[in-house]
Homo-oligomer: 174 residues x 3
Amino acid sequence: MKIASVTISDRASQGIYEDKSGPAIMAYMEQAVVTPWEKVSCVIPDGIDSVRDTLLDLCDNQKVDLILTTGGTGPSPRDLTVEAMADVIEKELPGFGELMRKVSLEEVPTAILSRQTAGIRGSSLIINLPGKPAAIKTCLDAVFPAVPYCLDLIGAGRIETDPEVIKVFRPKGA
Amino acid sequence: MKIASVTISDRASQGIYEDKSGPAIMAYMEQAVVTPWEKVSCVIPDGIDSVRDTLLDLCDNQKVDLILTTGGTGPSPRDLTVEAMADVIEKELPGFGELMRKVSLEEVPTAILSRQTAGIRGSSLIINLPGKPAAIKTCLDAVFPAVPYCLDLIGAGRIETDPEVIKVFRPKGA
Amino acid sequence: MKIASVTISDRASQGIYEDKSGPAIMAYMEQAVVTPWEKVSCVIPDGIDSVRDTLLDLCDNQKVDLILTTGGTGPSPRDLTVEAMADVIEKELPGFGELMRKVSLEEVPTAILSRQTAGIRGSSLIINLPGKPAAIKTCLDAVFPAVPYCLDLIGAGRIETDPEVIKVFRPKGA
């Protein structure tokens, strides 16, 4: 089982500021996921090519089961994560973006500006998270209960979680 | 007025298990729709070609007004209903999928894994429902109030319902 | 700063009935936006070509910052605003359509029939509003708090509002 964080930010990738989002994702995973897993982390610049090439490598070569991106989902000219996703995913899961925007909207009205989505490529699930650590937690709390069953369905590795941190849901018989 | 249920399932189409979803859809329609209508039912395997060809035949040849599919909207490799929909519909109605996921999410966290949508081809409205009978009722209860007016707008047949079962809504003057 | 209303209606464009939707949008903007802005208004027929050409002209030639369309987002054969949008926008912002349908759904069950969306072309933000003045206000009340920050991010003009009418939100440090 491999879980990757992909921080997508021109400034973080140039070392202009410290990446706090990738580590926030990994800290969440360390708390939540109790079955063994291997960590992969990247910090890359914004841009369709950089995001697409990184996601393709993580899916096809490194066989990462769960890929969590952070950044690049807004309306700014350099926000191109969603455009790269369109080149990479074979199936979009629109319910992830809908739910993440809904829960974020309870915190900030600008949540509707996020174009974040999720999708599947082969046996990899890719979820776009916001750039800010607080918003990352809000979104993961909302969608993570459905992630382990999704990974089961696409033939990825099996995850169990600490129910004190996050309860996962698998339908009866699954 | 014709209403079709399309059960999309490799196992049901091979007779490995009994189709309970198509009959659940038809039982709902029999209770809800009081104006005369003709029933069409199919059970077909998963797959882009089988779903696309069936939907095209129901829309273009059989002139079915309302087509309710069940199954094939999840993230599994053989869930290809949504891919077939993309080949068939001329207009997508994203509000149906959003609302069906929202009401399903009140029952199970894995509702966000559903890619179900709705769309129009000519004078036919196609709505993707979940595979499980209980979830079918949840979704129909949520979206059916808007279905008769949608059928009016696209030039399909007129539906009246039993308001004890489901109340339809048509804007004043419509 | 330029703000445009685009009324999309065969009948209004032929003078068969008076356009009340464009003026309703402009009355809202006059109440809400306190920084200086220039008004642009058009009334055009339904149809992919008419809507696309008008939107392209407003974005590329007239450099309008904020374009608010009304009409043409339903399921009827002549409702083609969304098809024209697909030709014009470079980035879709799905959160706008989701939220506008959600708040409209609290008023009428047929809100799920609306295909309205929003998107960006260059430094212009385009938002599809419903046809009816009451529904226009419902939608603008819901999404407008995020509009000024969106305009900041795409390099459009800066808007300040009367907080008694509508409170805008910009993240701290923005």
